[in-house]
């Protein structure tokens, strides 16, 4: 029973990480109806960019406290050209195709990006422990936790809140919601739908890259980093309901807590429970917890 505090702390931290990792995926699906496998690639690109550039920055002896800003800027600057190129050169010609076909196209792009990453950053791991170590740790019920993880929780809240604000309280966001609702009508009314799709893909990919960047100091950045993230973030957004922002939050909390419980009480079932929960949720609510009603067919 004395494990409960650490179950909660671990669960919250893991949920925050999952939410951050899944946010871009659900945004892109919600707007563009694309199940985006390159999400994992952008996560990895963000992690690599952050790790390599931050390491270079620190090696030159610049103030370590600013390394957090370097993480963020590095991920954005490196990932953005990839996102823009992929949307402009490939994806925009596929919007008319079936959802599953677009998924396959993003899978192909994922395979390509896996190797592009290796070509750019090589196959040796990158470590940047400084941003992580710098903040020290805090205690909950005799257990020490890295303070950096609190930063992750804060970042998750900021990203989620910021995205919600962007979608619901700004003019561009409201127009975007109209585009989601009916791209054809929006186009007829003079909205540049293509530009909204580009912006969405860019934003979603940058969110993935930022999640990778924030994770980079806590792991060793190695090839294949994004591969696990893809299925995990799929699980999160599918549980919550593809395309739903509150759904992603709920999905992240569910998966985070379930995993934390399992790690503390039945560690051999850690991976099993996550996908078991996903399958169970889909069995009961075929379109996830926060799903929209299906349109009328006949």
């Amino acid at each position: 029973m004395d494990q409960i505090p650490s179950v909660i702390v671990d669960g919250v931290m893991y949920s925050a990480w999952l939410f951050m990792a899944a946010l871009g995926l659900t945004l892109i699906y919600g707007v563009m109806k694309i199940v985006n496998v390159t999400h994992g690639s952008f996560y990895a690109i963000g992690a690599y960019a952050a790790a390599s550039l931050t390491a270079a920055y620190l090696a030159r002896g610049f103030p370590p406290m600013l390394s957090y800003a370097v993480l963020v800027v590095a991920a954005i600057v490196v990932a953005a050209p990839f996102a823009i190129a992929i949307e402009r050169v490939i994806l925009r010609f596929m919007y008319a195709r079936d959802e599953v076909v677009i998924l396959l196209a993003t899978y192909a792009l994922f395979l390509i990006l896996e190797d592009v990453i290796k070509l750019i950053w090589g196959v040796n791991p990158y470590f940047i422990a400084e941003p992580y170590a710098l903040l020290g740790s805090f205690q909950v019920a005799d257990m020490a936790y890295p303070t950096y993880n609190l930063l992750l929780v804060a970042a998750a809240l900021v990203f989620g809140g910021g995205l919600a604000w962007l979608l619901h309280s700004t003019r561009a966001g409201k127009l975007l919601v109209a585009v989601i609702h009916d791209p054809e009508v929006s186009r007829a009314m003079g909205v540049n739908v293509g530009r909204y799709y580009l912006a969405t893909f860019l934003l979603g990919s940058l969110l993935a890259a930022l999640a990778g960047a924030f994770t980079a100091p806590t792991v060793s950045v190695v090839p294949g980093l994004g591969v696990d993230v893809i299925v995990l973030s799929f699980a999160v957004v599918v549980i919550g309901g593809l395309g739903s922002l509150p759904g992603a939050a709920l999905g992240a909390v569910i998966v985070g807590i379930v995993r934390s419980l399992s790690v503390h009480y039945m560690p051999q079932l850690e991976l099993f429970v996550i996908y078991f929960v996903m399958a169970a949720v889909l069995a009961v609510r075929p379109r996830g917890l926060f799903s929209l009603a299906e349109p009328r067919k006949i």
Partner: protein, 312 residues
Amino acid sequence: MRRDRTVAVIGTAFVALAAGGPWLPQWAMFIATVAFARGLVALGLVLLLRAGLISFGQALFYCLGAYTAGALGRFYGVSDIFIEMLVGGAVAALVAFIIGFLLARYRGIFFGLLSLALSMILYGLLVKTEALGSTDGFNIAPSTLFGVRPPPEWVRYSVLVSAAAVAAAAALIVHRYLQTPLGRLAPAIKDNEIRVEYMGASARKAVHVKYVIAGALAGVGGALAATAVGHIDPDMAYWTTSGEFIFITILAGTGSVVAPFVGALIYGSIHTLAYGLSPNTWQMSLGLALLVLIVFLPEGLWSLATRHARRT
């Protein structure tokens, strides 16, 4: 209408392989055997794809078949390749039958993602099961045929011919199934399920049947791959393995029951070649190939052959 030459093609190919096989180098026999294993999985995916469904979790059954074969050897001392394939296929079919009740209700992206989750469940279990070697998996004893252990230099050949025989049988069975009234229903389910229901058929039941057939085929393929490679591990259930099968299926297209095996052979060859040439960019070649296929040849490589035939 063109005459259906599928049966003749399969028969000829089998005889040619069995007769010419002994002259193949060992590595080619290995590549061909693994291609049969993957081709069996892709054949099942073709069945589903014809009905508009893509399973991102077919590695579930592949891995089940492989671990069934492995467990037969490890715990019961069975190493007969046909028993391994038979039991591997049966276990996979049984599991497909059970989860089919759930999965047959799903379409489109949700079918794919749920099947993905189910395969990841198996992966999650296997990596933590020490009795089955956890992440490392375990080795499998060399195969015997009907109780006879072939001399070492003939093992690869006998496994290859067994694989070819099973693949040929599977292709013929699926070919026949596709000509039955319910087998022909696949494009109708893909196009308009409401109409299928209103014509008096159950789309869900048809999907369920296809899912069980596809599961059985993947199970047989997994058992075959296990004895051919001599080693199994949980990565056989990982989503990237399912991705390979989808790649082969898209490469082959849904036009013929022979195509998945050709697709698997091409995939295996590209893989071996590209990996040998440049271990860090082989995935890129695959990705580019897949992208080109999706954009320019959505019906798969097979459509090149039939398009040509139609013109002449």
